[in-house]
């Protein structure tokens, strides 16, 4: 299974994204990161760490569970309902720029669910999207503002993101299905 990003590339991509966020938003004022569970959360944390190194400022990070907002779980056959975890956003999002962080952008449905969930929490001034990998094949009009790497894929393939916080190793693999 080809590795399309190794640990070093991931680290450099995230640092680059942190710089881009600073540049696009002309500073960190009023910005907060919200990672989409599960793997969006450690990525958001790392970006926050990079932002602190670059700007010296602390930035708030929240975790968003979008399981209850997905459009594909009800009606699945028995045994497939995904585990619901807690959402933890310990700050108000009203009037702020929220940067959503996820590992892979594919059909766009996860992002749509995240947008729905976020708007149930309050009314952000604007929402931006960071993804580590964009693999194409959008089914909804969603685009990422910051992309770690574009990885063209076919529908039969899948992108596996592993992060040391959860999986013990940093790498992005492209898995082909026979």
């Amino acid at each position: 299974m080809p590795v399309v990003m190794d640990a070093e590339r991931i680290s450099r991509a995230l640092t680059r994204i942190a710089h881009e966020i600073l540049e696009q938003n002309r500073g960190l004022g009023n910005l907060a990161l919200v990672g989409v569970r599960s793997r969006g959360v450690p990525i958001a944390q790392r970006i926050a760490d990079d932002l602190r190194k670059i700007s010296g400022e602390d930035i708030q990070v929240g975790a968003l569970d979008i399981t209850l907002y997905r459009d594909d779980i009800m009606g699945a056959s028995a045994g497939v309902a995904p585990l619901v975890r807690k959402t933890e956003i310990p700050f108000s999002i009203d009037g702020r720029t929220i940067v959503l962080v996820d590992d892979v952008l594919y059909t766009g449905r996860t992002t749509r669910a995240a947008l729905d969930a976020l708007t149930d929490f309050g009314r952000p001034k604007s929402i931006q999207l960071v993804v580590l990998v964009d693999r194409g094949h959008r089914e909804l009009p969603i685009k990422a503002d910051y992309v770690g790497k574009n990885v063209p894929t076919s529908r039969q393939e899948s992108v596996q993101v592993k992060l040391r916080e959860l999986d013990g190793v940093d790498e992005v693999q492209l898995e082909g299905k026979e």
Partner: protein
């Protein structure tokens, strides 16, 4: 916080059941899944907008043949928080005696294609009967003297919230064991999760085969409460006096009532629980019910989260091609 999970051993993420008829049918793993899911659901109740779209478009009917305010409203709030369309059908027992049978009532409601029916009935096994004839998923909200699974689940959730675990805790359950469905469900759940369960009642209110359920049985309240981590009081139904089970309420309270004195024998951080409604001065003294060790109101709050978890897990797990 996010918990590291390995992809090797796939953790349980759904209930392998269409219905929730009782704790009897659940494994320890499934019980923990419900409790973990309830944790996430509890957070929804803390938001300003206490709603998620998960069961949008699904119809859930609360079919209550026995009067109940707290359980019914708890289910209703849970359903609404999940964006389901709810319908409350309260059937006074007299109309059942006069007219429609349970089966006919349920079949008529089925015609409206509900995804789930939450049912409370005075006869043990009523939910089993409905599960055999209805397409909707059946959630048992209390059937006769048999089980009240969501009560036991919210009790377990409350205990875990306060104590961090269930395994190895000493839990004393005191009250009318013979007629209580809350008892049966709690005994099943607590023993499955490894708690040490003591039950206590006058000999006239101890069911045959109680010991076979893996609990310690005593008629001495001091023995039950000694060193307990959790004290769970069951309601004495005032009508029971007619059956001659004990001579008077006064005598019951003297011998089996939970007083502050008796609570002192338990651990200093013991919690007091009661499924409600409380009979003050019969099974529990007011000071104990309202005291700092009492988690009775927490139980009520947790009821909504636990019921949301149950509805979510059952709805996601059914393989009807969307009701």
């Amino acid at each position: 916080m996010d918990v590291a999970t390995t992809t090797a051993a796939a953790p349980l993420t759904a209930l392998r059941h269409r219905h929730l008829l009782g704790i009897t049918d659940l494994t320890a793993e499934e019980i923990l899944l419900i409790l973990d899911t309830a944790d996430a659901m509890k957070e929804v109740g803390k938001r300003t907008i206490k709603k998620v779209p998960t069961l949008r478009g699904r119809t859930v009917i609360n079919l209550f043949f026995e009067p109940s305010t707290r359980t019914r409203t708890s289910f209703e709030i849970a359903e609404k928080r999940l964006s389901a369309d709810t319908l409350n059908v309260a059937i006074a027992s007299s109309s059942v005696v006069k007219g429609e049978t349970l089966v006919d009532t349920a079949m008529n409601l089925e015609a409206m294609a509900p995804s789930m029916m939450v049912v409370r009935h005075a006869s043990s096994g009523a939910c089993h009967l409905l599960s055999r004839i209805c397409k909707a998923a059946i959630v048992n909200a209390g059937d006769g003297m048999h089980e009240h699974p969501t009560q036991a689940l919210l009790d377990a959730f409350t205990i875990r919230e306060r104590k961090g675990r269930l395994t190895g805790l000493k839990v004393a359950i005191v009250g009318d064991l013979l007629h209580s469905r809350v008892l049966r469900s709690n005994v099943l759940l607590l023993t499955k999760l490894g708690a040490e369960v003591w039950v206590c009642a006058p000999a006239t209110l101890i069911p045959a085969g109680m010991r076979q359920m893996g609990v310690k049985v005593t008629t001495r309240i001091d023995e039950a409460v000694e060193g307990a981590d959790v004290i769970m009081m069951l309601r004495i139904q005032l009508e029971r006096m007619q059956g001659g089970y004990f001579p008077s309420l006064r005598e019951y309270f003297t011998t089996f009532g939970m007083t502050e004195e008796r609570v002192k024998r338990a651990k200093s951080d013991a919690i007091i629980m009661h499924p409600g409604p409380i009979n003050r001065g019969v099974e529990i003294a007011s000071e104990v019910a309202d005291g700092s060790a009492s988690v009775i109101l927490d139980q009520v709050a947790n009821g909504v989260a636990v019921r949301m978890a149950v509805l979510y897990l059952l709805a996601g797990g059914t393989d009807e091609a969307a009701a």
